[in-house]
Symmetry: C2
Subunit: 383 residues, 2 copies
């Protein structure tokens, strides 16, 4: 059944791909011999090449931030309500780029890709990639696209970490940094949740040490559990109460057994099993580990302001009141460090009951703040 | 290496056991043909039989609340610092009883016990047991011990739920109800964590539909994951930060691999694997389900005060500020319902950074509040 493309969508989009054949030295010390980035672009680059925005995706995201791949696609890109003509990330003014991270599984090189040395999938032989490495690959993509300086680099959650790393590593190549629902480093609790997710995957007998591709199987149970755990941390207690409460499935009486009783159980099981169809377990391992490792202040004895010393960008930092994964307090740490550096910072703490997931949702105040900020950026860069 | 029994311990204790051979009709509608309770007693019952306290244990607890089973035992009972001569639950004044829950795995009848009809372990054929059923069995134990009325029924977490159920179901059989770190019902988020834990167990290939006893194996991976998930919810974010921060194991550099990097990972893996040695996976399923089902207000259109209508006990309710599993707000719901019923309530919100686990820890203000309250109870009952 063909879907009518909504009016304010970027419409049909086609992913592009670029192969970089020079070896890429990674933070872990290893070298990736070559790699491919899959990415999407929306809007048009202006003559001055000054109106480009880079979007950085989160753990389970990809390059498909907006629009539809074909008329029958049921779901548009993951930031559809923020990216498009007339939307906060306004494709009638900006040229918007979003690339799939290396280590992920949506087309860019990752553990499911073929290791040229062996002719078989990398699996856990794929080198560890970090936020710093991702920024490096995104800079190579910018070179490829002829973009010397982004009008803004924008990202939520893990995407926000990439934005901070951009501001630290390549300060001349972005004017504005938009850091949404992020944190300067994971807490022990954040790492703990990631570790349980990884253990779920790695202890699944179908994991085969990460070489499950060759076994024509995958660690379905483990990856589903990992996603279920993640999902609990994306939603607030309050959001879960509003969404499910203690409702039983179909309003039925208790089963007094181990089938689904509560709606929330049914929801989680569905989230788990559907994720298995669209995400690679090894990629989940790599990206959660990159999250754990991210800690730019560590090289400065924990002083985040010192880590931001090279930064020159202007910042918009956004947090959400009910986000307990990366709480507003974590965003305030970022803001404090930026203030210490005398950088221009706008900080918005958005009232929301939807938890960490808020950064993906069309919350009016959020849409408004982001839109107003980027409209000013558009004016500034002559977009 | 023999341990010297500390002075204020109840010392060496021997579990007792009682078999009830009359069929027990359960809330689920099924009947347990017979059952055994394993329990411990500390202190002496006075002539008036008025000085008995019942302790109700939590999810992974058991009847061994205090003392040592043998001189070489490394760890005393789980409430050693609260139960003993001169301690808040003072065994020089009170006769203290703690029984292992049916459905559990420490000696009372549960899914690992033999189903008399088949001659093999019950597994998932064991009937579902609920908080109400546990109270019923504890009342049968009280009859067996000749205790008409407990001076107090005391419990934390799931134990606190049993205390509330006692006050509702058998109001004439307790004078005081001490409800610690509990909630009147689980939230959707609480249920979600339990469900992920259950899924971890039930999707483990070694689970064999709960009949793993016959396979000479057990769902080690699943149960370890379940425990890891639980453990994260027992600790506060703050407690984890204080305990582990982002410390790497042995202060080493990042491995850039999937072995343990952070201390918190090492700790969780240890918690998971050691739990497997001492707890039965089927019991974990049954007891988490009983937690999910507990909701005495449900039969009263969500009105908790109405559920407390039969209650006559005096209450002490205790919560801990950093407990995000059963937060102080949940205890305040209980207190509010008790006020509505004009019951005598003492409420203490204890400052603690140790999360839900606080109810098991020797936090001075907590020890003091509980001790002062129970000293008054002892005076009242002539203990």
């Amino acid at each position: 059944m063909p879907v009518e493309i909504p009016e304010h969508s970027v419409g049909l989009v086609t992913p592009r791909s670029v192969a970089f054949n020079a070896p890429l030295l990674l933070e872990c010390g290893r070298t990736l011999p070559a790699y491919t980035l899959v990415y999407e672009c929306y809007g048009a680059l202006n003559a001055a090449r000054s109106n480009a925005i880079l979007l950085c995706h989160a753990l389970s995201g990809d390059h498909h931030a907006a629009g539809y791949h074909h008329p029958e696609e049921r779901k548009p890109g993951w930031w559809e309500h923020l990216v498009g003509p007339g939307k906060p990330i306004d494709t009638s003014r900006f040229f918007v780029v979003c690339a799939n991270l290396i280590g992920s599984c949506k087309g860019s090189t990752g553990p499911a890709s073929i290791n040229p040395e062996t002719g078989t999938p990398w699996g856990l032989d794929f080198p560890m990639v970090t936020v710093r490495d991702w920024v490096q690959t995104q800079a190579q993509l910018a070179d490829h696209l002829g973009i010397d300086c982004w009008a803004a680099v924008v990202g939520g959650s893990l995407g926000g970490m990439q934005v901070m790393q951009w501001a630290m590593d390549l300060p001349d190549r972005l004017r504005h940094a938009v850091v949404i629902a992020a944190a300067p480093r994971l807490t022990a609790q954040n790492i703990a949740f990631n570790e349980v997710a990884r253990q779920a995957i790695m202890t699944d007998p179908d994991f085969h040490g990460g070489r499950y591709y060759a076994q024509n199987t995958k660690p379905r149970r483990g990856l589903a559990l990992a996603r279920m755990i993640g999902h609990i941390t994306y939603l607030s207690d309050d959001a879960m109460r509003k969404k499910f409460g203690r409702d039983t499935r179909g309003g039925k009486a208790f089963s007094f057994g181990f089938d689904v009783d509560f709606e929330v159980e049914s929801y989680l099981r569905h989230q788990g099993s559907s994720f298995v169809e669209r995400f690679d377990a090894n990629s989940y391992l790599y990206i959660t580990k990159a999250l754990d490792y991210f800690d730019p202040a560590a090289a400065h004895e924990g002083n985040l302001a010192a880590a931001f010393a090279p930064a020159t960008a202007q910042f918009l930092v956004i947090s959400f009141t009910s986000d307990w994964r990366f709480s507003p307090a974590r965003s305030r740490e970022i803001v404090q460090a930026l203030y210490t550096r005398n950088l221009q910072v706008t900080y918005a703490e958005i009232a929301s009951h939807q938890g960490h997931d808020s950064f993906l949702l069309p919350i009016p105040q959020y849409v408004e703040v982001l839109g107003a900020y980027l409209a000013r950026v558009a004016d500034e860069v002559g977009a």
